[in-house]
Amino acid sequence: MTEFLQQVVAGLASGSIYALLALAIVIIYRSTGVVNFAQGEMATFTTFIAWTLVDHGVGYWGAFALTLVIAFVGGIALERTIIRPVEGGPVITTVILTIGLFILLGGLSNWIWKAEVRAFPPDRPFPTSAWEIGGVAVSKQDAGILAITVVLVVALYALFQFTKLGLALRASALNPTASRLVGIRVGWMLALGWGLAAALGAVAGLFTAAASPPLDPNMMRPVLIYALAAAVLGGLESPIGAIIGGLTIGVVLNLVVTYDTHVHLDLDRMRIPIAFLAILIVLLVRPSGLLGRSAVRRV
């Protein structure tokens, strides 16, 4: 039983990384109907920027914060320059743009930083020890990741529910025309959404690098699939769904791999196919996901 709980906790920690990236995807999807396939590669790129900062002497947590800001600004800039020209056109066009970004950023990360082996962060930002709670070992790193995720999610929630800006963001996603009629600059709201998503992705990237060293340019590819599966599972428009989906997938994947030792199906390397299967099953059984609202069915 303790083994089970332990794996659940570990799964929650990795799940919160997927949840963060899924949340980023949902934020952009809600406001534009576009799935940003480049979300993972954007995260990788910003994580490498963080590495560069630390490499030049900036402290880890300082670099962490600075990277979030850079990601935020970068996301806004991306939206205003590359995405804006095709705003208002068919969704598929913008999606293809994000694919282009996926390829471009992946290539750039490889080109600029090359595939050297790097540990990032060089020294553990979280203490390596673990707490014991009722016989279950909870690593301080996992706890740290979970805690920071919770803080971020709560902060976002507060932003969206209690501030004027958050209301404008929500309104722009729900009804862009009506938003314009009350004077909201919808274009900038979209840009802000991209900025927030990029910042969330940056956190996901930093956590991924901390949780599974070494730092490599392809590290976010699996995370992206898990996040997409999480978003689809939770319902593409539902932020809460993204979080629940992410945590669920984290826990399930962890449990599947753990219990694989009994069935010997070598499932550790089959995690991405499992996530793909999850997507397919959700599409077959309940396409709008757990918490999605709109009817996505069309003949």
Partner: protein, 341 residues
Amino acid sequence: MSRLATVRAVVTILALAAGIVLMYFAPHSDRIGYIKGSQLGVYFIAILGLNIVTGYTGQISLGHGAFMAIGGYTTAILVSEHGVRDLWTIPIAALVAGAFGFVVGVPALRLSGLYLALATFGLALAMPAILSWDKLDAVTKGGHEIQLFNSPHLIGKGFEDVHFLGRTLPFNHAVYYLTWGIALVLLVVAWLILRGAPGRAFRAVRDSELAATSSGVHVATYKALAFAISAAYAGIAGSLFVIALAFADPQSFPATLSLTLLVGAAVAGLGSLWGVLAGAAFVQFLPDFAVHISKAQGVPDTVYGAALILIVLLLPTGVAGGLRRAVSPLTTRLYTRSQSQ
């Protein structure tokens, strides 16, 4: 037939004839050669498949590289483990890939929006792991290379001369003509589906959603069928690829192959047939040019990505659209002249 249609038909036939002539002479140039020419044909078929999906359903597939892998591995396993003659494996590869395409297409295509893109993206990223899974040993050799070189069931055993219709061809030439012969046939089929008379019924189902559903026909099934056909195309491409290489391994079908194909389709003009050659050529020869910028890893991808972004922003209808714009003043002039006569 109206004057415009006549003009169009003549232009098409001339272009096809020019294409056939080009096909015959091209490999003699140093740049291209028979091996690269075959590879070009492989990309041509795969991108053709991609454009069938987009042309028929309006959605994009991000997983055609995976269908290539399925087709390629079908051929590889059948030839090496089961002694099937390589040419016979091509239609089998098409069927297998098509079947998988149908399975993925059915749930995704009855939904609006991006679900096909999502599902196929997942498939593309999952494929390398699936190919390396040792539980699937029987069909993938668990990620180990499947060698076809020297196999008696492969054309020319992968290196010998081939005897055909009384002539002797080097292996490379044989593969080249095989590939492009099939490519031409598939091009005609694609045209029939998307624009030709036999495809009209097929397209009528797609267009008259209301009428179709009220008479109990599932539009989504037809769309999935179109997707299956396009997956079959990719399967054939993969099969030919493996035949040309005389081996198969997971590294030949990386996750990014699907995305590279999409770049080719975008260069061609999504859903078009005319620009596919340009798209295939772009994908095929870009790495050679990218090396001039820098030999570092990641450079080709950077250029692919930048190219895709620029195309979407500046030339969204791709080469086909550009061609159409260039040619239309001519056809319009001929058309209006025939009107005033």
